[in-house]
Amino acid sequence: MTINRPTQTSKNRRSRAGQVKILLFTLAIAGTLGLWEVFSHQAQVTVAAAATTSTNVPGLSLELPPLPELVPFNPGQGASQTNGNSTSGVAAPTAPLGRILMGGSAPTFSFPQAMARTRSSR
């Protein structure tokens, strides 16, 4: 009984090594197929994009609008600017002041209902 134990352990080790090899092989196959799928799909997208932007394809009468150009965002544009003394030349932070948008519902205001209204004499 005591002699057989080493023999059984050695067999188990061989068996486990085999299982690991099979696992690694399977993973390698799966990884290869996965990457293949990804890259082949990107290539299709590129080809499709090229096809849609080209208007010189013989026999293709479809006219598509040009793709929009991306413009770099300049944080100094379109936002409130102050010159230290005033907000001269700046679009007003007007009615949206205090506006809260809630889940796409109609805009509501955080300030109370106006009790009076100033306007040119009328």
Binding site: T94, L97, S110, R119, S121
Partner: protein, 306 residues
């Protein structure tokens, strides 16, 4: 909270009394009679008003009522603070520009063609005052139209009378006076109307002890001889102000100061008007320009409800 709305001085008026006293509405119901009394003194459109009588009596020392006297003194202050841009001596220039009757009649019946030469506008120093006798002597050719100063004075006077019964607000055609904070300690929420969209608002103000007024060419305008006219006269040209400001709103320590400053900023135009507002302590303003742009003065932040 009680409120009353009525028409006076060619404008829509509103008075609010923040009180739970049972006689609150009774107190407010007196306000239209006050305005009627003041209009009978100050209107240039009523031929039998005290002002019309004064305007028909040049070169004579005319004894005037306390109301007309006070409004004249307020107009003197307005002229001084505005660098002579706000003056009641615009009467003849307004008539020359076609504003020779109440605005309701003007809209209904059209504007007369007028090719008269535009008269030069003087200064109130040309009017003689006798403080002891409370008389005014107009020089020949001078006639008075108190315009917005009369409405500002009326709003201020009404709120001073109402405040004995609780916190009060009086809106005289857009010139708004408040007596102080409301009874719950909160300021009064007041909208600045958008001159581009009659139902829209440019901003919401919170007013405690201040006054606010708006001067604009967005409503009282008409055509004369094919030319666009409005009712804000620039005394430097004796003609409707050539300005890029459509409407100017100013918050000031009092509604009379606000009325004067709003008209001054409008006449000066967007850039100069904003610079002028910034240079005046205690004033904050919003200028809505013809092209839709809106300029806020730096001190306006403290009055915007956010």
């Amino acid at each position: 909270m009680y409120r009353i709305e009525f028409k006076a001085m060619g404008c829509q008026m509103l008075a609010i009394l923040d009180s739970t006293a049972a006689n609150g509405q009774e107190k407010l119901d007196r306000v239209p009679a006050w305005f009627e009394e003041w209009e009978q003194v100050l209107s240039r459109f009523r031929t039998d008003s005290e002002l019309s009588c004064l305007n028909r009596s040049p070169n004579q020392a005319v004894s005037v009522s306390p109301t007309l006297w006070e409004v004249f003194r307020a107009a003197q202050t307005a002229e001084q603070r505005s660098g002579s841009l706000v003056t009641p001596l615009v009467y003849t220039a307004l008539v020359t520009a076609g504003y020779d009757r109440s605005f309701d009649e003007l809209v209904e019946n059209g504007t007369p063609v007028n090719d008269h030469e535009i008269p030069a506008i003087g200064v109130l120093e040309s009017v003689e005052l006798d403080l002891a006798a409370r008389t005014l002597t107009l020089p020949a050719g001078a006639r008075l139209d108190f315009g917005g100063v009369a409405k500002g004075w009326a709003a201020n006077e009404a709120v001073n009378r109402l405040k004995a019964y609780g916190p009060a607000l009086v809106d005289a055609g857009g010139d708004i006076a408040v007596s102080g904070l409301r009874s719950d300690g909160q300021p009064w929420p007041i909208e600045i109307a958008d001159p581009m969209e009659p139902e829209g608002a440019l901003a919401m103000l919170k007013l405690g002890r201040n006054g606010v007024a708006t001067s604009g060419k967005d409503y009282r305008h008409w055509m004369q001889n094919g030319k666009a006219r409005h009712h804000i006269i620039d005394p430097r040209t004796s003609a409707p102000a050539d300005t890029d400001v459509l409407a100017a709103t100013v918050v000031a320590p009092s509604v009379l100061e606000a009325e004067t400053a709003a008209k001054t900023a409008l006449i000066l135009g967007g850039d100069e008007g904003l610079n002028w507002l910034e240079a005046q302590r205690g004033l904050a303003g919003v200028l809505a320009l013809d092209d839709g742009e809106v300029l806020f003065s730096r001190r306006m932040d403290q009055y915007l409800w956010s």
